[in-house]
């Protein structure tokens, strides 16, 4: 099987632009409180979201925020990979970007210019920015879109279609999405606090997470250093309910197991060094994921450390797993998980280990990333230190 490496990363989050800004926030593990969007028409009880701060005083247009975040993360990832200036014209290049809402601002009153334009234009905008003729795919699997995009990019390389793929996810504030979560009673009034006993929903965030995927052969030919190797991916679908996860968790369990099994040498549960869970803060989801992790990781499962990224940046929708993979790449390079944002009280129904206060060295050089979504769309990715 063709080996695929992550050779570049880029991130935009409520902590600012750049993977370094994200890592600094991860290292500080400070409690972050959500904000209110500058939208006078956001008529809802809890208009809460973790907003991306303006960069150098520049605010992206309301109908182009998600694309602007994606472009910024793309530029960073390509520069980080050393492909911004030096990529050979002969390199076969692909772009795969996931998003839950696309440019939702285009179709929300007072935010867009009116008229019809497809909302899911982020991948095409990034592609135009890159200026490379190749392939360009847009995946809209809601909150798992970013990880399906990255996994699809890996498959494209393994099938020999392309040498390099820019993949990830991006999402921005959407009045409709936030209104619907309010209506469903799924917004936590305090902050995003997955696995906390007192959690009562999630809190959205804005952001983008992009990675450069590259065949190991292509990376070696140009002397590029990888952050991580993609060992395996598992896909599944609950086929159960529009919004609720299957309480049995069978399909998220299978997605994790398939990710472990896909590696050239099958990865045993004991070889999982850490997990970045989907962990949103919604009550049932966190319990089901906890139980599925216990099933997959076996008797030592409760000892495997988790890094709960959403507690730091909110639930960034289609960008969430893109940012999780960026975080996982940095964790693998550092060899340890940063301390988690402190919880008030771990939910006793969630038998997971969320180390606080100090970094936790990885016992094994692997990180499992999970992403789930409305519609029961599940995907897991296993990353291994590229060294």
């Amino acid at each position: 099987m063709t080996e695929v490496l992550i050779t570049g990363i880029g991130a935009v989050s409520c902590h600012g632009y750049g993977a370094d800004a994200l890592w600094r926030a991860m290292a500080s593990a400070a409690v972050q409180l959500p904000q209110r969007p500058a939208d006078p028409l956001a008529h809802m009880d809890l208009p809460l979201i973790y907003l991306v701060p303006d960069e150098f005083g520049r605010r992206p247009p309301e109908d182009g925020r998600a694309g602007a975040f994606a472009v910024a993360a793309t530029d960073e990832a390509l520069a980080d990979a050393g492909l911004d200036k030096t990529a050979s014209p002969a390199t076969r290049f692909g772009t795969v970007i996931g998003s839950c809402m696309g440019e939702a601002g285009l179709h929300e009153r007072g935010r867009g210019v009116g008229g019809w334009n497809p909302a899911f234009r982020i991948a095409a905008r990034v592609g135009d920015r890159l200026g490379r003729f190749g392939t360009n795919t847009s995946i809209a699997n809601a909150c798992s879109a970013g990880l399906f995009a990255i996994s699809t990019g890996v498959d494209m390389i393994r099938c020999g279609e392309v040498d390099v793929v820019l993949a990830g996810g991006s999402d921005a504030y959407s009045r409709v999405a936030l209104g619907c979560f309010n209506r469903m009673g799924a917004v936590d009034p305090v902050r995003c606090r997955p696995f906390d006993r007192h959690r009562s929903g999630t809190v959205f965030g804005e952001g983008a997470g992009m990675v450069v995927l590259e065949s190991a052969e292509h990376a070696a030919a140009r002397g590029a250093r990888g952050y991580a190797r993609v060992d395996g991916a598992g896909w599944s679908c609950d086929a159960y309910h529009a919004t609720a996860p299957d309480p049995q968790g069978e399909q998220i369990t299978r997605a994790m197991r398939e990710a472990l099994a896909e590696a050239d040498r099958c990865t045993g549960p004991a070889e999982v060094g850490g997990v970045i869970p989907h962990g949103t803060g919604t009550s049932l989801n966190d319990v089901v994921e906890s139980q599925a992790l216990a099933a997959v990781l076996g008797p030592d499962g409760p000892n495997v450390p988790l890094y709960s990224l959403k507690a730091l940046i909110g639930h960034t929708g289609g960008a969430a797993a893109g940012l999780s993979v960026v975080a996982a790449a940095m964790i693998l390079r550092q060899g340890s998980l940063p301390a988690n944002v402190p919880l008030d009280e771990l939910d006793p129904l969630c038998a997971v280990r969320l180390p606080e206060h100090d970094p936790t060295p990885l016992a094994e050089p692997t990180v499992l990333v999970n992403a789930y979504a409305f519609g029961g769309n599940n995907v897991s990715l296993l990353l291994r230190d590229a060294a």
């Binding site: 008529h43 179709h107 929300e108 003729f133 392939t135 360009n136 847009s138 020999g160 369990t253």
Partner: protein
């Protein structure tokens, strides 16, 4: 009620990459026909659908008496098209639930619902949103009903690139089949009207669905496939494609895609193009080939898939469908209705 962790022991699927996918089922529903060949013939005759009467799709009559009232229209069309495709293929029972995958393309499937929800929030309050439609802020939820109805637990993908999303679903889903993420695949496209009264672009309504599986599986069941197809999408950055050099690159990209799908010089070409520079460059690059039909792109991704479904159902000779858009997305698919045809080896599965 949740199970104890030790009970959660779902077996991991045995990956069986599929290198010889064939189409064994076709389903379609559009306002002017439910028959793929007729739908295509009318599309060619009129250049697009006649004005559509609201309420043309009676979900209760066509899907069943209960459970569909609050499913947005595009999801209703999808369910019916998929049911017909599955019936045409002889059912899904021969494939375990966890080996069934779905890839669905759409651009405007939720546009009207989204606009209505935004109006409610703006003019009233989110508390006044309907709780049954609130989940449909996310476009992939439209397809979740398809997965639930047919126990499609392998995966469900929603693809959304402008106007090529249906063919993008065909390519992405077939790639997943090729690498063994499923054993049977439903590829679909669905659209519904745009909100408001904008004349351009033309709204599309309806859905198409194809059932795809391995030739060996079809043969084992005694099912004669409708044919095969290979799809390749591409991207021509609109800014870079604007100049003469860029237009040549569009031609090169198109040539690569045509080669990748196994197109031959004499294949009739059917185009679905908008009025963009990228589409004009594609049209010019196609000039030496015989153009069998040209249809103006609608607002969504349905028209190319009506072409694919109609040609396959008609059992006509080999044909190529080409789509190009202002956003830079290009898609090429080659249909080979004769399933006995063997594609020249490209050194790997038809990803």
């Amino acid at each position: 009620m949740t199970r104890a962790p030790e009970q959660l022991r779902t077996p991991v699927a045995v990956r069986s990459p599929i290198a010889d996918p064939v189409i064994t089922g076709i389903g379609l529903v559009v306002p002017w026909s439910d028959v793929p060949e007729r739908a295509l013939a009318d599309l060619d005759r009129t250049g697009g659908p006649e004005p559509v009467e609201p309420g043309w799709f009676n979900a209760r009559a066509r899907l069943g008496p209960r459970g569909y009232k609050y499913l947005p229209p595009a999801g209703q069309y999808l369910l019916l098209a998929a049911r017909r495709a599955i019936q045409d293929s002889g059912g899904l029972e021969h494939v375990p639930a966890h080996r069934r995958g779905a890839a669905v393309g759409t651009n405007s499937g939720l546009a009207e619902v989204f606009d209505t929800m935004d109006r409610t929030v703006v003019e009233s309050n989110a508390a006044d949103l309907s709780p049954v439609t609130a989940p449909y802020f996310a476009i992939n939820v439209l397809s979740s009903r398809l997965a639930a109805e047919h126990e499609m637990k392998g995966f469900q993908l929603t693809l959304t690139s402008s106007r090529v999303a249906g063919l993008e679903a065909l390519e992405t889903g077939t790639r997943a089949l090729a690498v063994g993420r499923c054993s049977l695949l439903i590829v679909a496209a669905m659209e519904h009207v745009l909100p408001g009264s904008a004349d351009e672009p033309v709204s599309e309504q309806g859905a198409t669905a194809l059932v795809i599986e391995s030739a060996a599986a079809a043969q084992a069941r005694g099912v004669r496939p409708h044919g095969r197809c290979r799809t390749r999408t591409g991207f021509a950055p609109p800014t870079a494609a604007a100049g003469p050099a860029g237009r040549r690159r569009v031609g090169d990209l198109l040539a690569e895609a045509l080669t990748a799908v196994g197109a031959e010089a004499g294949d009739p070409v059917h185009t679905v193009l908008d009025d963009s520079g990228v589409a004009r460059a594609v049209r010019d690059a196609l000039a030496p080939r015989p153009l069998a039909s040209t249809v103006a792109a609608g607002a969504g991704c349905l028209r190319p898939m009506i072409r694919v479904a109609g040609l396959l159902a008609a059992g006509a000779g080999p044909a190529v469908v080409v789509v190009a858009t202002a956003e830079g997305n290009i898609a090429v698919t080659r249909l080979e209705p004769d399933p006995s045809t063997v594609y020249p080896s490209t050194g790997g599965p038809p990803c």
